[in-house]
Symmetry: C2
Subunit: 314 residues, 2 copies
């Protein structure tokens, strides 16, 4: 039997549900409930926003509310990491149809809070409005703690290209879900909830990263943004990319045979991609290529890569 | 003839349109275009978010795109003022149907930028996604510049209550628009674009305001939030409220005769309401009542006020 709906709970009931049980650190002197929340950064503040709309960015038949809440925070906060900043806060704007079960909102909020805890940020506020489709907008901010931001434009010839996090797992998951399958579990789980390598953005900044971006559109597409902003050519060696067993399985079964397509073209895993002087690569990062002088371009094993699509919403 | 649509322009074309021609101050070292924007606050940061959804918060037959853009920023930034902070930045998330004319987005973005300029904030980023209805989510940031925030909870017996800005003008405008009229112009314009008294939040904070809130739900409802948070009774004298000529006209024609209903119950003008020690009221603010010891309540001319409705979305 269906429980109470969003309309039954009301706007203030839902907001109460979302901000219930928050445990705020000293760096957040004012939490939700006043006109604004207040936080105390140690340095400059990095800010980004990301929207997740039902049937555009997620489907309720494939992802539960807890997963959707986690993903909204994770995919936005990856941008904060990509500046070299430390996650501080999240503000969530939630649009929900009046007939949606209130329990969906409660579980989604619990996912939002779990992901906030995972990255060390506080949920600082929320806003609930009604609409025909579920939409979550997460605006996230990070503290640069006195460091300058790591931009896309700093890659220099002679740097190496390295990454940390997952590549092409979410894309393989989407491929199986789109065909009605629910396994392998690792890739389906990766589609549902990205796991950005929290803390590694600041680690890379401290290590001296010259440029950084998170991998949301796909490896080739996102390194293309770095190549463009920096005015350099980026060369990737596919031999350095580690293809996982589930990716091989999916590619063999449904993808036409080449799992590299997921690693080169698949977004949504939110790995961090950065360029470093060769001696500066932090532990745990995998070197996959180099930066060369030349026209802005990304070469894969020395050639332009055809299927670099990326993702636009229209 | 209809021009190009949102689908024709594409996501990146629209974002380009929104962030085109931005002139960033020194306090914003990184504008839109990288993973995050970066700003440099002098003190603690106040943050709030506000959503405006088509046919819930605005109607396209009543408000043009430029007005909608201005209103989204103004209604959110009033919360920053209400903490005593100075507006710094805005991040906009825009949801639009693919068939919407791209010109609507361009004009809306121009309204957003005009209001940013009016309050002294920078547009720090944007995100565009498709959806069935137009929705704008503005997340706004203010700089407390070393001051503590002014909360709702600081009102003390013996304080006076004062406001600055418009009261009940937007509500009178909504009343005429709802009945198919387009005049008086002053109230219709007030419904379309609130004009929060920018700068007066920081002025009140410096003057020693003990509590502050912006008037978004209605004078009685919002002072009710202050009374609740502070544990005091707030008494309003209607003789101190200045009723405008257009409000009298509208009330006489369609509102049942009493224009005070708009001033006491109408929200959306985003005046600032604050409590002060009697000697601290800044120039330009109008004293309309006082704070007394007692149960949390708002009394209007000594009586509870019946029509204090407020506004919830469900």
């Amino acid at each position: 039997m269906a429980g109470p709906t969003v309309a039954d709970a009301g706007e203030f009931g839902l907001i109460g549900e979302i901000v219930h049980g928050l445990d705020l650190p000293l760096s957040v002197p004012v939490g939700p409930g006043d006109d604004c929340a207040v936080f105390s950064p140690r340095g400059d503040v990095a800010v980004s926003t990301d929207a997740m709309v039902e049937d555009v960015h997620f489907r309720r038949v494939w992802s539960g509310p807890h997963d959707v809440g986690r993903k909204a925070v994770a995919s936005a906060m990856a941008d904060v990491e990509a500046m070299g900043a430390t996650p501080v806060g999240v503000v969530l704007s939630l649009t929900v149809p009046p007939a949606l079960e209130a329990a969906w909102v409660a579980e989604c909020a619990s996912g939002v809070k779990e992901e906030c805890a995972a990255c060390g940020a506080s949920l600082l506020g929320g806003d609930v409005t009604r609409g025909e489709r579920i939409a979550l907008v997460a605006t996230v901010f990070g503290d640069l703690a006195g460091r300058p931001p790591v931009l896309r434009s700093g890659a220099r010839a002679g740097d190496v290209v390295a990454y940390i996090g997952r590549l092409g797992m979410a894309a393989a998951g989407l491929a199986v879900l789109s065909r009605g399958f629910r396994s392998p579990g690792a890739v389906v789980k990766a589609h549902r909830v990205p796991e950005p390598p929290y803390g590694q953005g600041a680690t890379a900044a401290v290590a001296g990263a010259s440029a950084m971006i998170d991998c949301s559109d796909g490896l080739v597409a996102d390194l293309g943004h770095v190549a463009e902003a920096s005015g350099v050519t980026i060369e990737i060696d596919t031999a350095a990319l580690e293809v996982s067993e589930p990716q091989r399985t999916v590619a063999a079964a449904i993808g036409g045979g080449d799992p590299l397509t997921y690693l080169l073209g698949g977004g949504d895993d939110h790995a961090l991609l950065a360029t470093f002087a060769p001696a500066d690569v932090p532990a745990g990062w995998t070197v996959i290529g180099r930066v060369a002088a030349g026209e802005p371009a990304v070469l894969v094993d020395g050639e332009p890569w055809a299927a670099d699509g990326g993702w636009t919403h229209f």
